[in-house]
């Protein structure tokens, strides 16, 4: 199965959806921290320069300006990179956006290993864990351009804080305009049988699809489930999968602590189930510099490596 990359990045797909939303709802505002061009704001800025504001390299100020605007009735998207969105402004987000339950959408480019050659300072590989731990916060991740557009519009129609994880460059295309998103719902995107269930999101979804095709040829029949909504999380889907298949596998370009693997484990906790789980991701370390796709391979998330790990676990 060849990989076809989107023509546009998830960041630009977000920007395209944002500009459509801005035309429909004059209450929508956008703030960026010197990232207006790099996290999807340029289109809205060209149409509504007064509603797409660049605060400069000042993420903390941006976060609480958004809180102030939301507290006075606006729906605000703030955009920066995942490391800054989840860590530089963590307390601002937790105490002054999430606690007061304000309608602020935190849009995080360069999620996971997509920060690539920029290295540790620009690779957001702990963001899902951090954001999941904040009460009131919804945490979602988009896999490609088509799903990003749908998810952007869906979160805009929700009144409350949301963290949206995006990538950097064009992603492998997985979905089309018929993609559906609902908070708290996982999407079954392949269903070949009852041996293995893959859970994944974002940049690793296409790799799970490739792995499932390869395993299929060897008589190991898989399901692939996309989990764009990491919080609220589809615990029912996990319980259904655990009852119907022999192995659960989570794959994510995130620390294996606190991300999707943990969300699945939390869903299973206390159920007295014996189905084995396999968590594939970053094993509690930082990423090195390199191109995103080669980093995913390097850290054991190539389709071949996933297949090997699954087969070893099934033995």
């Amino acid at each position: 199965m060849g990989v076809v990359f989107d023509k546009i990045s998830t960041r630009d797909a977000f920007g395209s959806a944002l500009s459509e939303l801005a035309r429909e709802d004059e209450n929508i505002m956008y703030l960026s921290a010197d990232t207006i061009n790099s996290v999807g704001g340029s289109l809205m800025h060209s149409e509504y320069p007064n509603r797409a504001i660049n605060v400069g390299i000042a993420e903390q100020n941006m976060a609480l300006m958004a809180a102030g605007m939301a507290a006075s009735g606006a729906k605000v998207f703030i955009a920066t990179y995942a490391v800054f969105a989840s860590m530089r402004i963590c307390e601002q987000v937790r105490t002054f956006i999430a606690y007061p339950n304000l309608d602020v959408k935190i849009v995080a480019g360069l999620g996971g290993l997509s920060g690539g050659i920029e290295g540790v300072t620009h690779q957001g590989t702990e963001d899902i864990a951090i954001m999941r731990a904040i009460p009131n916060m919804c945490v979602v991740a988009a896999a490609d351009a088509a799903s990003t557009k749908v998810i952007t519009k869906a979160i805009a129609h929700y009144d409350g804080p949301v963290y949206l994880r995006l990538g950097r460059g064009p992603s492998p295309a997985v979905f089309d305009e018929n993609y559906e998103f609902e908070f708290g719902r996982a999407n079954v995107i392949r269903s070949y049988g009852n041996d293995v269930t893959f859970f994944s999101y974002g940049a690793t979804i296409n790799r799970c699809l490739q792995a499932s095709e390869m395993l299929n040829k060897e008589g190991i029949y898989c399901r692939v489930i996309e989990t764009p909504s990491l919080k609220p999380f589809d615990t029912e889907m996990v319980l259904k999968s655990v009852n119907e298949t022999s192995l659960l596998v989570t794959v994510e370009d995130h620390n294996i602590i606190g991300g999707l693997g943990s969300a699945v484990a939390e869903a299973l906790c206390g159920k007295n189930l014996t189905t084995p789980c396999l968590n594939i991701g970053l094993n509690d370390h930082y990423g090195v510099s390199g191109e995103c796709e080669e980093l995913l391979d390097y850290y054991g998330m190539s389709a071949e490596s996933i297949v090997q790990k699954v087969k070893a676990k099934l033995k």
Partner: protein
Amino acid sequence: MADEITVKQAKDLAKEIRIKILQMLGNFGYGHLGGSMSIADLLGVLYSGIMNFDSSKPRWEGRDYFICSKGHAGPAVYGALTSVGFFPETELLKLNRLGTNLPSHCDRLRTIGVDMTTGSLGQGLSVAVGVALGIKMDELSNYCFVVIGDGESQEGQVWEALMFAGHNKLDKLILFIDNNGEQLDGKIFEVNKIDNYVERLKSFYWHAQLVDGHDANSIIDAIKTAKSVKDCPSAIILKTIKGKGSFAEGIFNHSLPVKVSDAENDIQNLLKKN
């Protein structure tokens, strides 16, 4: 007035650093050209005689510290470090390749001669303040040099660090502000303007000077003046051009593709200059 030999050495090193930046980015195909080229003259001065260091003992306790808070200028730092013998030049062609010791942003765990990991803007000055406070407490003679970007100074933490350093009279701290006037989204004056650095810094109890950041003689003289000032930290605002000495001067050059032919052409032009 700096002596002629010192100025010549600084200029020669700056040229070598620029050539190496172009070789690295040309070889990789893209990267942070603008902000690397704009501090080449500063690094030429610092590493040709101003700073105390021993490239065979990178962690020598008597060294002067250098923190490149604008960590995306890593290629400029690597050019300087290899020119003065911290590691072989062959490493330069591995810039940003998987498993490299020369990542896009400076990393003290990976690169010999790098004193501090940087790249998340607004934080390196606080690190430098910590180093300078230690120097003061232990009554050592080392200096701590740090460079930040002018766009970077939009971060609030920069001003927290400035306030503490001024209040605590950290006179072994010398700050350079690379005032190239540009940031990722455009001109600083248009995004969120910040100017009058000298007046602002003075109001934070700093000594402050504004000099031509591409003139080695002026930079050397300013550092000498800064060292002569006691009981307050010193800032030297470097008026610079982002991308100085490359094909990308005057165009958007924060991070851009660099063709081998463009890099080669720039290198030939640099070699023709004195």
